[in-house]
């Protein structure tokens, strides 16, 4: 006990120091350690969540990229098929159109040919009638003074009949 007194041991100070430390411990625990550690924990959780979200997003991105590649590939294939089909179809249509055009042109040519023949025939007939009329007129004029009127009429009638028979009038 004497040693303790020489070292300055004082029961009042001793108890006061115990109480002081316990109060400091309590206050620091309440206002410093707990809020700070809670905050650190919350931040750690958020970082973990962020990292997990990043990993999820990366997986999703990979999946999306794979899907995108597949879709592009499929679209390319479809487009190629459509183009190929369109080409085939175009060729078919062209051939069909060419054939139809050929048929049409032949038809037009036939019709034109027929029309020309018809017109030629009509022109020939008109010309024949004209020639007949002219011949009859020339005959009438050339008979004047050579034959009498009755004879002229008879010749003209006969010539007219003959021309009509030969379809020249």
């Amino acid at each position: 006990m004497e040693v303790l007194q020489q070292l300055g041991f004082n029961p009042i100070l001793f108890v006061a120091q115990i109480i002081n430390f316990l109060i400091i411990l309590f206050i620091l625990k309440k206002i410093l350690y707990k809020p700070l550690l809670d905050l650190l924990k919350k931040r750690e959780d958020e970082i973990k969540k962020g990292l997990k979200d990043k990993e999820d997003a990366e997986v999703l991105l990979l999946k999306t990229q794979e899907k995108e590649t597949q879709i592009l590939k499929s679209a390319n294939e479809k487009a190629k098929k459509i183009l190929s089909d369109a080409n085939d179809e175009a060729i078919k249509i062209r051939i069909k159109a060419e054939e139809q055009a050929l048929r049409e042109s032949e038809k037009i040519l036939d019709q034109a040919r027929r029309t020309i023949e018809q017109e030629e025939k009509e022109a020939e007939e008109r010309l024949t009638r004209k020639i007949g009329a002219l011949s009859l007129s020339l005959l009438q004029k050339s008979l004047v003074g050579v034959f009498g009127e009755n004879e002229q009429n008879q010749i003209l009638k006969k010539a007219t009949k003959e021309l009509e028979r030969k379809r020249l009038l």
């Binding site: 300055g8 100070l13 120091q17 002081n20 206050i27 410093l32 905050l39 650190l40």
Partner: protein, 294 residues
């Protein structure tokens, strides 16, 4: 600074306000100020001050967690408070003015009048009252936590190893039967519980010695440091004291860490049951034991 005992500056009633009490108040004030400033400006995105506090508290929490494991929640407040309280107290002795601003006091002794210097502020860890108080808090916390964790019976078996024997007797399954015809066997059988009780009390005493050791280690180191700095400052005013100040800085940090670490280790050891100890010491052996018991 010549006396071990802190110098009384004045009294409030019967309560002596010593220079170490003044230091305690200043240390408390500093810690509370830091805690309030941290708490007030606490934000999800930390500023420099909060960052520093997070570094200190978070770093010590991780460090203690690597040793204490699942017991960290209870042990950590004691560990960190012991550490920062003792650290700030130790380092406060290195602040210019602490230990050097004071007054001269004349006292009458057997050899005549004696004048000595009384500093107004002296590190609280150079006061045996403070270091012993801290050690007692550490001791009580350690044992209270051990009782809470293990239960009273398991706790007592840490000191009195005859308790399992008594329990087995109470259950009607004594491990060893006494041969009353053989005097040596009878003597040993009667002596063994007495020896075990004695050893138990020695174990309990060793716990008190741990507290005394904790308090005296801290007190001795810091008081000796204060005396060295005081003496060196008396002889050389400039430059020469710097290495001693640096040494004291290191001693202050180490002593704070030693006190906090020992408290944490004592808490872990005493709150670990024999079963856990054997599992940690020899996991393969324990599995063999289990197989045998099956």
């Amino acid at each position: 600074m010549a006396s071990f005992a802190p110098e009384v500056i004045f009294y409030i009633g019967r309560f002596p306000i010593t220079n170490t009490v003044i230091n305690t108040i200043l240390v408390d004030g500093f810690l509370l100020l830091v805690a309030f400033l941290t708490r007030r400006n606490l934000a999800q995105v930390p500023d420099k001050f909060q960052n520093f506090m997070e570094f200190i508290v978070g770093g010590l929490h991780d460090f203690a967690g690597s040793i204490a494991g699942s017991k960290i929640k209870v042990i950590f407040p004691f560990f960190i408070t012991f550490f920062i309280f003792i650290l700030v107290a130790n380092l406060s002795g290195l602040i210019p003015g602490v230990g050097t601003i004071g007054f001269y006091e004349t006292s009458i002794t057997a050899s005549g009048q004696e004048t000595h210097f009384v500093p107004l502020n002296r590190p609280l860890t150079s006061d045996i009252n403070a270091t012993f108080a801290l050690a007692i808090v550490s001791l009580v916390a350690t044992h209270a936590y051990a009782i809470k964790t293990l239960g009273l019976t398991d706790y007592l078996t840490k000191f009195f190893s005859f308790i399992p024997f008594l329990i087995s007797v109470a259950k009607g399954k004594p491990k060893n039967t006494i041969d009353y015809k053989d005097p040596l066997s009878l003597f040993i059988s009667l002596l063994t519980p007495l020896v075990l009780i004695f050893v138990g009390f020695l174990e309990l005493l060793s716990e008190l010695v741990k507290a005394i050791s904790l308090s005296f280690r801290l007190f001795g180191n810091i008081y000796a440091g204060e005396v060295v700095i005081y003496t060196v400052n008396d002889i050389f005013a400039f430059i020469f004291p710097i290495p001693f100040l640096i040494l004291e800085l290191i001693v202050g940090v180490i002593q704070a860490l030693v006190f906090a670490m020992l408290t944490m280790v004592f808490m872990i050891i005493l709150s670990t049951s024999h079963h856990e100890e054997s599992n940690v010491a020899d996991p393969e052996g324990s599995s063999t034991q289990r197989e045998v018991s099956h």
